[in-house]
């Protein structure tokens, strides 16, 4: 039978690997409890599992040498960016070596003419944008957190701009990857057409550290648009807000961002981010990019759609500070939700469905939420058909936790039945392994075969992304 296995390595193997790393890396190989704990989990759920040691390499060669050592000793390797993943990607299920990329933060080259750049994996998206601001270019992918580009590549991240600029998948030209046997390979080229052979770049993007460690990334950049205009429109009923989005997408209006917040989420955001002059109602946050004429035209088109669905007048945010405040409020939605329900914990679903099924899917999710009796908030990058239900529960109440899990599972299955996916952007990690099987059936077997072929000792982030059996 085609299965993956991994046993926790012997204490002796772990100790000798840790000793070897300490000899080579000195104070860049750390075994203190505090540092190991910090590297044992992402954001969201507290499902920690500690690595035995955390190493801070500075070059591709150092990453390769750590991996080679681990491969020889059959010790797990888990790459760590900024620790903001949501699906338990970082939990060291079998202990092992955590490779923290935070010392690899060089922007290696910026080619303003070619609209691309090459960065080390530890560069964060905000650092990159600050670094290239003077060039008049920007990098659009913006998951809520200030994640590292390496982590964003490994999880195929997206964000509020994906509806216009795509996800990491569409914005990476090539990668440098350390393979499980400690070799350094380079995929893709500066050319926008991939070179000979298979599209390995796309295989490594989103592989969640299970096939290799991404150490450098060649990224596409974009010119800052001549005009950026953000607007907010509120609705009395959630379906009207959703149908507005569906119509806009079907008409092909090239929105840069279109984000939905339900009334509970909006209430939380108003309180947390001190948004003034808004009601706790279903709301769309929108942004338009282009030339003056083009943006004006997009806004006119959007206004006619929102009017048809009973939307409010628009509140515009054209100045940089106003826009920053608005989008910060959107990015802080998770923390707003946490502050709205003190003492609770929360996790978020991540369904994505074909755009025409979005209204139906959100309505069905809402029924599940209402039946659960739990406080839940809906927020989403609805232009892509992707939305999150943030489900809050009392961590000390087993019944609440069980109901929360049930709601999440049912929403994932509803989406899969509608031809969608259980995860549009957060990934599989350890939490969605069962849902992956429901969604992909036998195809998971081929994914497992690829994993076994490329990582025969199963040392790369074992137990994640691909179900072991």
């Amino acid at each position: 039978m085609n299965t993956l296995t991994f046993d926790r390595p012997s204490e002796q193997a772990v100790n000798s690997t840790v000793d070897a790393l300490k000899r080579s890396y000195g104070d860049r190989a750390i075994t203190t409890h505090a540092i190991r704990e910090q590297h044992s989990h992402g954001e969201g759920m507290q499902d920690a599992g500690m690595p035995d040691v955390v190493v801070f390499p500075e070059t591709n060669e150092e990453v390769a040498s750590v991996v080679k050592l681990c491969n020889q000793a059959r010790i797990p390797v888990i790459a760590f960016g900024t620790g903001t993943s949501l699906e338990g990607h970082l939990k060291a299920l079998y202990g092992g070596v955590c490779i923290d990329m935070s010392r690899m933060t060089k922007v290696l080259e910026t080619n303003t003419e070619d609209l691309d750049c090459r960065v080390q994996a530890g560069v964060t998206r905000e650092q990159l944008n600050a670094d290239i601001r003077h060039t008049g270019l920007f990098f659009p992918i913006d998951p809520g957190a200030n994640a590292s580009i390496g982590g964003m590549s490994a999880t195929r991240a997206s964000g509020t701009n994906a509806v216009r600029y795509g996800t990491m998948r569409e914005n990476i030209l090539g990668l440098t990857v350390v393979t499980p046997d400690g070799r350094i390979i380079r995929t893709g080229t500066r050319a926008r057409k991939s070179s000979a052979g298979y599209d390995l770049t796309r295989l490594y993007i989103g592989s969640e550290g299970t096939l290799g460690i991404i150490t450098e990334i060649q990224l596409k950049l974009y010119g800052v648009p001549e005009r950026i205009s953000a607007a907010v429109c509120q609705f009395d009923e959630l379906p009207n807000a959703v149908n507005t989005v569906i119509t806009a997408m079907q008409m092909g209006i090239p929105m840069a961002r279109i984000e939905l917040l339900d009334s509970v989420q909006m209430d939380a955001c108003i309180k947390y981010s001190k948004l003034e002059g808004f009601a706790a109602k279903p709301t769309l946050f929108m942004e338009f990019h282009g030339t003056d004429v083009y943006v004006a035209e997009q806004i006119e088109q959007m206004k006619s759609i929102t009017a048809d669905y009973g939307g409010s007048d628009y509140r515009f945010a054209d100045k940089q500070e106003e826009r920053t405040k608005l989008w910060k409020a959107r990015h802080d939605a998770y923390w707003a939700g946490m502050s709205y329900t003190p003492g609770k914990q929360a996790f978020a679903t991540d369904s994505c469905v074909p755009i025409s099924r979005l209204a139906e899917c959100i309505a069905a999710a809402k029924v599940e939420v209402d039946n659960s009796g739990l406080v839940c908030m809906i927020v989403g990058h609805v232009g892509d058909g992707n939305f999150h239900v943030q489900i809050t529960f009392d961590p000390n109440d087993k019944d609440e936790r069980a109901r929360a899990d049930k709601v999440a599972e049912r929403i994932a299955h509803i989406a899969i039945k509608m031809g969608g996916t259980c995860t549009g952007e957060h990934g599989i990690g350890i939490h969605k392994l069962d849902a992956l099987k429901v969604e992909h059936g036998e195809a998971v077997d081929v994914m497992r075969t690829i994993k076994k072929a490329l990582d025969p000792n199963n040392i790369m982030n074992p137990g994640k992304t691909i179900p072991m059996q």
Binding site: E113, R190, D199, L200, G252, I355, G424, E442, T449
Partner: protein, 350 residues
């Protein structure tokens, strides 16, 4: 049909035979028998308001495009046909995109999901019908452009985009260097440019989108209007333009878009500068490859009438090793041709 192909593949695997996958054109690869994808044809699902079309591999590209155009939509990567019978499965297997590629994206950017039969005869489904999906490895993109070496693509789900409401092509008399400069400058700006080609001393810039946006761009960019521009772009895409005629071999180079023009060469430039065509004797192929590598890309030589083949040319041993492992994961009995020629690969498989 699927069951018949599954049996055929299983039988070939048991006997150690090779199977070639063919669509509208004959495969150049050696094989004992073939699977003709045209036997599995038709549109499985198309609701224009879903912005997704699901089609079987043998469906003619022309049928797919006509069906979508009737609903006001298109395959935005503008695939070339290279023959009226071209199938949609062939489009995905070869991974070819047309003039819109740098502005809209390539084939793989529009493939949302695929079904394939692998070398063990299993019929598998990857990806789906949604715009974003991070569930497991991105196998659909790995399959795109794999030239039939990993399996038979049986079904594809594509993302659809609305056809532009207005279109106009502007022509500028420019030398190659100035044309490259303009292509790159306009790429970074918000103009609705959807294709750029420099050939015969003239730069052709296609603008398409909402009418006011096209009108504003025309006023800003200048140039002369091109009559009957749709036909001009179709000719260019299909390599029926006069530049592609003749006996001298054609070298195609993919490079960074700002690479300078080649001196003293009969050349054409498109994809915003990222694709160059050189007409030169065959022995200049090495020169073209060297040049392309210098500018971050690679070159291939297209001789008249030759079919495109899967190539791993220029890949280093570590990359070849990864290729061999992927090939073995999908096609452990080497039923489908490809990737067995390189001695390095055989070493990698061992």
């Amino acid at each position: 049909m699927i069951e018949a192909w599954q049996s055929q593949i299983k039988a070939a695997a048991a006997k150690g035979d090779k199977l070639a996958i063919v669509g509208s054109s004959a495969s150049a690869l050696p094989a004992v028998s073939t699977i003709d994808t045209r036997q599995h044809s038709g549109i499985v699902e198309y609701e224009p308001n879903e912005l997704v079309i699901v089609v079987r591999c043998g469906t003619p590209l022309a049928t797919v495009e006509k069906t979508m155009a009737d609903a006001g939509q298109m395959l935005a990567f503008e695939p070339p046909y290279f023959g009226a019978e071209s199938t949609i499965g062939g489009v995905v297997a070869t991974g070819l995109s047309g003039p819109r590629r740098p502005y809209a994206g390539s084939v793989r950017d529009f493939v949302l999901g695929t079904k394939i039969i692998d070398g063990k005869g299993d019929h598998l489904s990857f990806g789906g019908k949604v715009m974003k999906n991070v569930a497991g490895f991105d196998v659909s993109r790995l399959i795109t452009g794999s030239m039939g070496t990993l399996g038979v693509i049986t079904e594809i789900a594509f993302k659809c985009l609305p056809l532009p409401k207005a279109q106009q092509t502007r022509v500028f008399d420019l030398n190659a260097a100035d044309a490259i400069d303009k292509m790159n400058r306009w790429y970074g700006q918000a103009h609705p440019v959807t294709a750029t080609t420099w050939v015969g001393g003239r730069l052709y810039v296609r603008l398409a989108g909402a009418a006011p946006a096209v009108k504003t761009a025309v006023e800003k960019l200048g140039g002369e209007a091109l009559e009957n521009d749709a036909a001009w772009w179709a000719d260019w895409r299909e390599q029926k333009h006069a530049f592609f005629a003749g006996e001298t071999p054609l070298h195609r180079m993919s490079c960074k878009s700002t690479a300078p023009p080649l001196d003293d060469a009969e050349q054409a430039i498109d994809w915003g500068g990222a694709q160059r065509w050189i007409r030169a004797p065959l022995h200049d192929g090495a020169k073209a490859r060297y040049w392309a590598k210098q500018f971050g890309g690679f070159a291939t030589t297209q001789s008249a009438g030759s079919a495109r083949q899967f190539s791993t040319e220029g890949l280093d041993p570590a990359l070849l090793d990864v290729h061999a492992k992927i090939k073995a994961s999908f096609d452990p009995y080497s039923v489908f041709p490809g990737l067995e020629k390189s001695p390095l690969l055989q070493a990698g498989e061992g």
